[in-house]
Symmetry: C2
Subunit: 291 residues, 2 copies
């Protein structure tokens, strides 16, 4: 399963990791890295991460049989409009975005009927950003979710699926709205909470703030790592998965109030029961080899 020409648009942590994996497994005749940032392009060239490196979207996707968007979701509509006239018949367009209904809403309408849209989302990443932060093994043993519609060309779906399998991922298909709901709780809410708690600490009086960093090993540092993720990407995720995030946030707030009340009234048994329940989930995560 190889592609003649693969263009990856946006060559940051995910895009460059995918590019590295594609090169390592020999899955593309020509791998094209597209980045609008000149410094990023220079880094891609110096790290020798792609066969062609360009800021020109049209040149990049011309003759490509696979185009993968790895930019913040808010850019999809504009990128779609620019690349649409240059897409060859049968070209597959995919992405790695963390929200999937927005892809159907923003990107699908811009593409020509002769191109096939297969939205995707690899469940992998780190808190780091940029082409230098990527690595080829990022997707090994991780899930990639594809969200084609009932109308999507099955050959195109299978081709994208084969690519992810080839670089070591397991692939699951689901509806875009179901994806967005699952990711709201597993990913979006944890990031929102991490950003919030770190922000709360930043606002503390100066004398405590330096100590927050000093004694961060007690739990806080894990939140700072999550909150180090790319702000632009995360802004777009929250704005494009608004309803599911707000619903999960409402549930979380209720649960938090219940614990707050138990602390206030000294209800130790309630706390112990809730903590024990939560602890059991860790075992499931370890058993599912996602730890």
């Amino acid at each position: 399963m190889t592609f003649q020409r693969i263009a990856i648009i946006g060559f940051g942590l995910i895009g460059s990791s995918l590019g590295r994996a594609i090169k390592q497994h020999g899955l593309a005749g020509t791998l094209v890295a597209v980045d609008r940032d000149e410094a990023a392009r220079a880094e891609i060239v110096s790290l020798d991460l792609a066969d062609e490196v360009t800021g020109d979207l049209v040149a990049a996707v011309t003759d490509a049989d696979l185009v993968i968007l790895a930019t913040p979701v808010a850019t999809y509509a504009e990128i779609g409009r620019i690349i649409a006239p240059a897409l060859k018949p049968g070209a597959i367009v995919s992405d790695v975005g963390s929200v999937k209904q927005a892809v159907l809403r923003d990107l699908a309408p811009t593409l020509p009927a002769h191109a096939h849209l297969v939205p995707g989302h690899p469940i992998a990443g780190t808190e780091k950003s940029g082409p230098g932060a990527g690595f080829a093994s990022l997707f090994e043993g991780r899930w990639c979710i594809l969200t084609p519609t009932a109308e999507t060309d099955r050959t195109a779906v299978d081709a994208v699926k084969a690519l992810w399998h080839a670089i070591g991922s397991d692939v699951e298909e689901m509806d875009a709205d179901h994806h967005d709901k699952v990711l709201a709780i597993t990913s979006h809410l944890p990031h929102l909470i991490a950003y919030t708690i770190v922000g709360t600490a930043v606002d503390l009086e100066d004398d405590i703030q330096s100590e927050v960093v000093k004694f961060s090993a007690s739990g806080f540092r894990d939140f700072t790592r999550i909150a180090a993720s790319d702000p632009t990407m995360w802004r777009d995720i929250f704005l494009n998965n608004r309803e599911a995030v707000l619903e999960m946030l409402q549930r979380l707030t209720e649960d938090l109030f219940a614990l707050q009340r138990a602390i206030r009234w000294g209800e130790g048994d309630f706390l112990h029961e809730r903590f024990t329940r939560a602890r059991a989930i860790r075992r499931s995560v370890i058993e599912a080899k996602q730890a």
Copy 2:
């Protein structure tokens, strides 16, 4: 700096790590491990972690020049009452608990005037529990906070300080109430949030719940790790640092509502600004070598 006889009461993750470090650095003539749990004692014996292993508090602390409590905070008052008559003149009593005002409140009144209480809190740990989970290097490069009062014997404080230095920790002294405030934000709130969000996920409909585990690599798994911490220990922490935790929780809730509102109203600039601010803290944590 060595002690003739050190008794560590409670030989779980922290107690057994401390025991291992003390043995490795040759800081005790005799190291006594005390655990009320028979299975834990058998494990301590089979791992050869101490010179004496007992469930008898009085026998353990008799003739000890240093006694360290490493049990949940709620047990301190009872342990204090049992060991008090057996403490020799000049004996130092310390602990490793995550809250420090409660130690002055619950443990101090039980001890005889001829013993010296030097409360301590090593800022180190993992989500694992039990004697088998400990390791000697746990405290290396980490902070240990001591919270003596103005009346505490300085020689005793220096002796405890020297012990922590010897096993690789940096030591800082502060007031117990200040400690409890700092730890409320750096440790207690992150754990409460992690327990909450994992609990919220547990309550989701069955079809989503299995997927929450499956796709946990997207952020959720970090919370499950934190929420795998010992439920009894954490119940006691929240019940014994109620005011500071409730205050920090109030601040967090306000900040969370501000972000929630921004998501609802599509205020992207506000989100981006908050996320960027939070990201900067990660750099401080890395520079402080606590990452």
